[in-house]
Symmetry: C2
Subunit: 519 residues, 2 copies
């Protein structure tokens, strides 16, 4: 285990990191997720390290120096999502994240720290915070580092410039003065000072969370896989690798699910919204990392519209209960993971589907949607209250608002519409892209899939990253759009990854040799 | 001439394009600039083409296929700046830009069209608008295309997705329905319909511009150049190419410049603010294109603080006169060009300098500033009303607001401060980065320059693009940050520019072969 957990810190919860690489980030993401569901009583999460200088980007650097471009890009995206999940927890669930830097925090380690609410550094005459990526590696602090520096901590831009080019970083006093950390304490007082701060947070009592703060267990997900498929209980992947696409089907809930938070609590992690979206999350990560040649995901749903609506009513009615809140937030994070996945998404609305409420977000998140227009087999898409703001995109808008930027009045019209939208109504309301009839359906879908998967995958990634996030930008979208895109560019440049590049030569006796032409 | 001008269109002004490449964009930028200063009475600018299908990206494609990465990046940035300058004219000076598409407008041609206020397409059964970059070239419509599609014209994202992957584009009726154009007219009525619309705009009368709308002539800039220098009247470049930096000095105005708009009008393009900032603009473009290995610009000023303040007082007092407004807007565009230049900027504040008012923006735009702290040679930096909003960055904030994101109250404190800031006051107020004394000055500057120019130029470009634009994002910053960064990434990918890439193989008998791994 690279992440050790320690529950002895009063009402705090300590995560001790043992190294810093993708392994840690997966465990970290998992630990944070489990704290939210299993330990709702925890008010403060302290992130610290098992050995001095552990918060450094060492492992990271070697990993980045040797791994493929695709892996680097995926790695940075995943770590960014983990950091945003910490901020999501802080913002929506009121848990405070404290970085207790008992040694030097550099690179990815300091980027993890600035995703926390508060940063405390030991003042031992030696320990510092730093972002050595630019001066040592010829790349960016790309997991949110530069953006959080000026947008979250609002460090003055010229100081951010100095800090980001200073390999050795800054220590206690100056780091505090420049806003890079919140305070520093001498070694002898460090543990006590952090513990004091945790006590103070705990004494402020729990946030206004409804319900007894008794956690539920998150069990590992179960799935079976074959050559061309991967099947969870509610989510199935069916691969068409020769055609470079996959069918991703989400099955809707069973009827008569629990309606009160207490019953839901007893149901635990097998409650449909939680299990189905955890499975979806896992499937998306699987596609990103293990199926790089699959360029298109055809999103499908199966189930009863009324059963989805029943779930959404329960979630909406009890959204201030801590567990329901966490479930809704988890659904929202999963959908944002989908928005940020570098694959094309087409929603396929066919008979037997249930693109309704929370599952309708899958359609609204898609790059395009196709809905069968056959009077003999009527189908509907239906909105619920969950489409009105509970599941926002990274840009802060709902997917419906993003869709109707030019006609904002349509958002309310659609949400207050009585009943569902059949194919013609959905097309008239601007909710779907195409509505082929049953004669054209098969051909049109086949051609659309063939065309999409024939295009340059890189151009599609850049295009989708631009078209999916119209409207306002937030710190999150700046990280995924601006910072990530620049980092991806730099990750390919010879000055980073060429034989003479800084990333290639880091830690070797050889030195980087730059082509100094500025671009 | 690739851009022909035609002043016979009533109060309109026609620009006829003969082809589409960087040459056209330089002439276009120049023509727009001249319309603003030489023909202030013009209410509508019609952009049309000399021959059918001229609005296509043909020249562009071959140019992009064969030119260097650095040239592609610079080209896209410059064309983006030209398009933003059109929108700046429309927004601030009330001139309407009409794209009169008398033939197919594809790629860069359509991107030029969506920078206009209104788009009219001939309905001849053949002509279409299209963005074929993704399907044909494996790159993005990167000169604002994708961003303007969803952010300016607010085309629904799934329709934008379909349109951007459809090589042949869309014609009149559907293009109008999807919001890609404003209207279409049959060939027989096209010229008349556009002329009618121009008349309508003209009949709405001039905007509230003060002063008689009598233009001034913009003469070509004069400069002398030697191996290590380039000298304009008010701007000098002194190259230290072995050290990869340049000194860029702006000389302040003469004393006793005209104080009334009438006198300024008579002074014409030799009036200091106009000439000095035109020269600065030219110097920046020269550095971008012709001096790629120069990574650092040391910004210096020479002159009398009182003379700069006198100019700023005149500009502020007369900002509603059309010519003064155009001069201020031109200064603002030049400073934004500096913000967007992929070189590091250090401001050097030494005795004899005049970092005051409009010239103080050079310091605020810099990545860092150094101000000599020597009681024997006191120096000052001084604010004027022009620092309070007349010269905004692309993100909509002033440079002072961007600097003080964490302490917004400092903005007013600094602006209402009585008199100038000497070195210690400037440092205390957070206005400068470093204040070395006279013993340290030379060494500190030398080391700072050496360190900066030793770093990876690519990492610096990405870092500066992130740190300079903290705070809100606008359509402009989305174009330069998000879209441009993705395009730069794609411009390097083998799927675009490798031997089997789409850009490399376009127009050849060979076909692109993609590596289909999505990243």
């Amino acid at each position: 285990m690279d992440v050790q957990e320690d529950e002895t810190l009063g009402d705090g919860y300590k995560l001790k990191l043992n190294s810093y690489d993708l392994g840690v980030d997966i465990e970290l993401a998992d630990a944070i997720q489990r704290i939210r569901f299993e330990h709702p009583e925890v008010r403060a999460v302290v992130i610290t390290s098992l050995k001095p200088r552990i918060f450094c980007a060492g492992a990271n650097i070697y990993m980045l120096g040797t791994s493929s471009h695709a892996f680097k890009v995926n790695f940075c995206k995943f770590t960014n999502e983990t950091r945003c999940a910490m901020e999501d927890d802080s913002h929506h669930s009121g848990r405070r994240y404290l970085a207790a830097l008992n040694g030097t925090a550099s690179g990815g380690g300091y980027e993890l720290a600035i995703a926390c609410d508060e940063i405390y550094l030991v003042d031992d005459g030696n320990s510092a915070v730093s972002l050595p990526e630019v001066p040592l590696l010829g790349v960016l602090p790309g997991t949110g580092g530069l953006t959080r520096l000026v947008d979250k901590r609002k460090v003055r831009r010229d100081r951010a410039d100095v800090f980001s080019t200073l390999a050795e970083g800054l220590k206690g006093k100056r780091a505090t003065e420049w806003g890079l950390i919140d305070d520093s304490f001498p070694t002898s007082r460090f543990q006590a000072a952090v513990a004091e701060r945790v006590d103070q947070i705990a004494s402020e009592g729990p946030t206004g969370s409804g319900g007894a703060l008794i956690g539920i267990k998150l069990n590992p997900l179960q799935f079976s896989s074959a050559v061309d498929s991967r099947d969870y209980k509610y989510v199935s992947l069916k691969f068409h690798r020769d055609k470079r696409y996959v069918d991703l089907t989400v099955r809707g809930p069973e009827p008569n699910l629990p309606t009160s938070p207490d019953e839901i609590q007893r149901r635990g992690d097998s409650y449909w919204p939680l299990q189905a979206f955890r499975e979806l999350d896992d499937a998306l990560l699987h596609l990103r990392v293990n199926e790089p040649e699959v360029g298109l995901v055809c999103l499908r749903t199966e189930g009863k519209i009324d059963d989805v609506l029943a779930v959404d009513r329960v979630l909406t009615a009890n959204h201030d209960h801590w567990l329901i809140r966490e479930i809704i937030l988890q659904m929202a994070r999963t959908l944002r993971r989908l928005d940020l996945t570098a694959k094309s998404f087409f929603a396929m609305v066919e008979p037997g589907s249930c693109f309704t409420g929370n599952l309708l977000e899958l359609l609204l998140a898609s790059d395009r949607s196709y809905m069968l227009n056959n009077p003999d087999e009527p189908i509907e898409i239906v909105f619920s209250d969950l489409n009105a703001g509970a599941l926002p995109m990274s840009n802060g808008l709902t997917r419906l608002q993003s869709r109707f930027l030019s006609e904002p009045e349509c958002v309310d019209e659609v949400l207050t519409h009585d009943g569902g939208f059949d194919t013609e109504a959905a097309e008239a309301a601007g909710l779907i892209t195409f509505a082929p009839d049953d004669l054209d359906w098969e051909d049109e879908i086949r051609v659309a899939i063939e065309e999409r998967t024939s295009l340059s995958p890189d151009a599609l990634t850049g295009m989708e990253a631009s078209l999916r996030f119209a409207g306002p930008e937030t710190m999150d979208t700046k990280i995924y759009g601006r910072l990530t895109a620049w980092q991806n560019w730099i990750f390919q440049r010879p000055n980073a990854v060429g034989p003479n590049g800084a990333l290639t030569n880091y830690g070797k006796p050889t030195q980087a040799q730059f082509d100094f032409k500025r671009t």
